[in-house]
Symmetry: C2
Subunit: 240 residues, 2 copies
Amino acid sequence: MPGTKADESVRRGQIRDAAYEIAAESGVRAITIRDVAERAGLSPGLILFHYGSKEQLVLDVLGWVLETTTALNIGPEIAAIKQPGERLLALLRQEMERIAGEPRRIRLFFEFWSAGLWDPAIGTRMQAELDRYREAFRPMAEAVLRADPALFPGVTPAGLAAVVVSFIKGCAVQSLIEPELDIREFISAAEGLLAQLSRTDGVRSRVKRITRSGSPNPARSISRRTSTPHRDKRGSPGST
Amino acid sequence: MPGTKADESVRRGQIRDAAYEIAAESGVRAITIRDVAERAGLSPGLILFHYGSKEQLVLDVLGWVLETTTALNIGPEIAAIKQPGERLLALLRQEMERIAGEPRRIRLFFEFWSAGLWDPAIGTRMQAELDRYREAFRPMAEAVLRADPALFPGVTPAGLAAVVVSFIKGCAVQSLIEPELDIREFISAAEGLLAQLSRTDGVRSRVKRITRSGSPNPARSISRRTSTPHRDKRGSPGST
DNA sequence: TCAGATATTGAACGGATGGTCAACAGAAAC
DNA sequence: GTTTCTGTTGACCATCCGTTCAATATCTGA
């Protein structure tokens, strides 16, 4: 029923939902004033009447995605775990499973993050959210450091939290690349890897080496892969 | 000296270099036929004469980025390490340091990856490259599994390689978000985390729980963060 | 030297997009 | 009923983009 008036917040929500659906289906860059208007059953002019510019609409969609994506919730079961390492690992697993369970939202999340590399408005918004997410891990990281300070020479709580978040990000990226990713095998392999590495009994000495003398392998002998220069039948000169 | 003729491969390289510079400075989406032509000192028509379409040019730039980014090179120092776990960890550290050392290329890499989520041509190309990268880790992952099979119940070599690659990806994302990332603290914290987790001596039993009865915490009590609905002064109706 | 082949140019076309705005319509105030 | 205010419309504009193509310049071979 076009033409009827509506409250401002109602209209804004209606428009934002339409934009969100388009972004979820076809990507953030598929958000256009006309498509959003058509999807919402409104006129293009009305979108700009309520949002002022397309950028504001996109930022509103980003805010909506962030509000429902990076929420870190520490439940009572996790909080009840006594050992700091165990507790942190349980939280890690919870987050990885949550992320693997909502690939559409994570896909949008990373698309915005990529866009934020060049768009300052989006970039600062993403930065703030990632900082907040990492900060949520810090109390638990602090507990781990307190339990065994000698094990983490030169490591700050924020640094440890950054590592945990990095692992979660890597899992998220992986789940996007491989949608049918078996999260249980992934976690099992990760935990086994941790145990294996510790059993070599070389972790402590290696850590000392790094923190004392800097990078242990200064010879950066990284040669590029030898391969034939990019050859492609398609795209050769001479059309038709 | 515009107007002079040149060999096909020379021109293609010239055009691709210009497109790469633009992408490195302003993002992949900043690649336009006109800007590439201007940067290369050529006419817009010539770009399409040699590449047929813009998509082919972008794919050529992607190929160039991949050829010089995800090359995994196992040097003799790493190959000489006897213990499988140690060897894999050394390779992991090498890759993390390499990635942290070339942020511009990694930035482009992830931007292409994001674009590949919606562009099938880019997506398949990225998928192939990531598969190849992960496959390069598999022999070493196999060695780790052979060394202690009981530690990785239900984990395939490819799965373990995926975990390692995921951690590298996470590190790459982190280095983009935080360019002044202290890679040594990062690695130190990561290794300390692994040791800490293993010392809790709960890894084995936890792994068993997962592989036997599925997810250990089926109660997905993940509530959304309660917050005031997105309120922004900017973008309100009524344009001045 | 000249003619054929082809690399190169730049104007022009068609389409898509963000944004503007005069006109219109529905609701509230009088 | 009349006026006033404002949500709403859709045509329109300026701009940018990928692509086409006829004309031109350069090179090659006889």
